[in-house]
């Protein structure tokens, strides 16, 4: 029995008390200020996260030692309404160099009023990452898939201060 299914996109939305232009500007220019600190594939701490505001640009972390981790490519940049990026991190937590094996995330900004903006995020095409995005087969009996998941999970919830 082939039980492979296409994963549903990850979707989130949030309404912020800010005009659309500011909502877009903060999201792109200050991405590094709110991206979770525990999201880091470098061996060292992150000095800064850069979001290059143009199609063909990258989003990357720069480590305190100058090393870089380019984890997203800018596929569309349409201020103040929309950005579309790739997600170049494999399920094995490494940079994926084959664009055909990367998923994509889109952020849409919708003005609800002059002072409020709805921000919708959709991370889709997860199946393009290949094996690993999906459920861990046989994981119920404690195979090797779960420890990795739990480690990342624990880091995600690491209680900080």
């Amino acid at each position: 029995m082939n039980t492979r299914v296409t994963p549903a996109p990850v979707k989130h939305s949030i309404v912020v008390d800010a005009p659309i232009a500011r909502a877009f500007k903060v999201f792109t220019e200050d991405f590094g200020s709110f991206k979770p600190r525990d999201h880091n594939l470098l061996r060292v701490d992150i000095a800064e996260t850069v979001f290059e505001p143009r199609v063909g640009g990258h989003v990357y972390d720069r480590g305190v030692d100058g090393s870089e981790c380019r984890f997203a490519r800018v596929l569309a940049f349409e201020p103040p309404h929309r950005v579309l990026l790739s997600w170049d991190i494999s399920p094995q937590w490494q940079i994926e160099t084959d664009p055909a094996k990367t998923s994509e995330w889109e952020v849409r900004f919708i003005a609800e009023s002059e002072a409020r903006t709805r921000v919708e995020l959709e991370h889709r095409k997860l199946e393009r990452h290949g094996d690993g995005w999906e459920s861990v087969r046989g994981g119920v009996d404690g195979d090797k898939g779960w420890p990795l998941y739990l480690r990342n999970f624990a880091e995600l919830f690491a209680r900080k201060g």
């Binding site: 989130h12 912020v16 709110f34 999906e134 994981g139 990795l148 998941y149």
Partner: protein
Amino acid sequence: MTVDTAQLAALGDPTRRLIFEMIAERPRSVAEITRQVPVSQSAVSQHLKVLRDSRLVRAEPKGASNVYHIDPHGLGQMRAWLDQFWSKTLTAYKQAVEQPKEPSP
């Protein structure tokens, strides 16, 4: 309501997270879990119900009681991670964007 939101909410509670991690380690019964967490059996059962409803764990009857397993179909490893990542990111983004441009005195 999407499963994502339910899973996120389910794991927001520290006791539930602990129970989930215990079950992820290996399948366990309610009684077994109760012995290892500082809450009553009925509280454990409540937590398990939330975890079950959000498809993080599933129950399998064994004798007179249930044994709880991780639900492999409810969670995509990467998907679950991304779900949490974006939720955290957007929450932090909201704070950043709503900050006054000039710090208050």
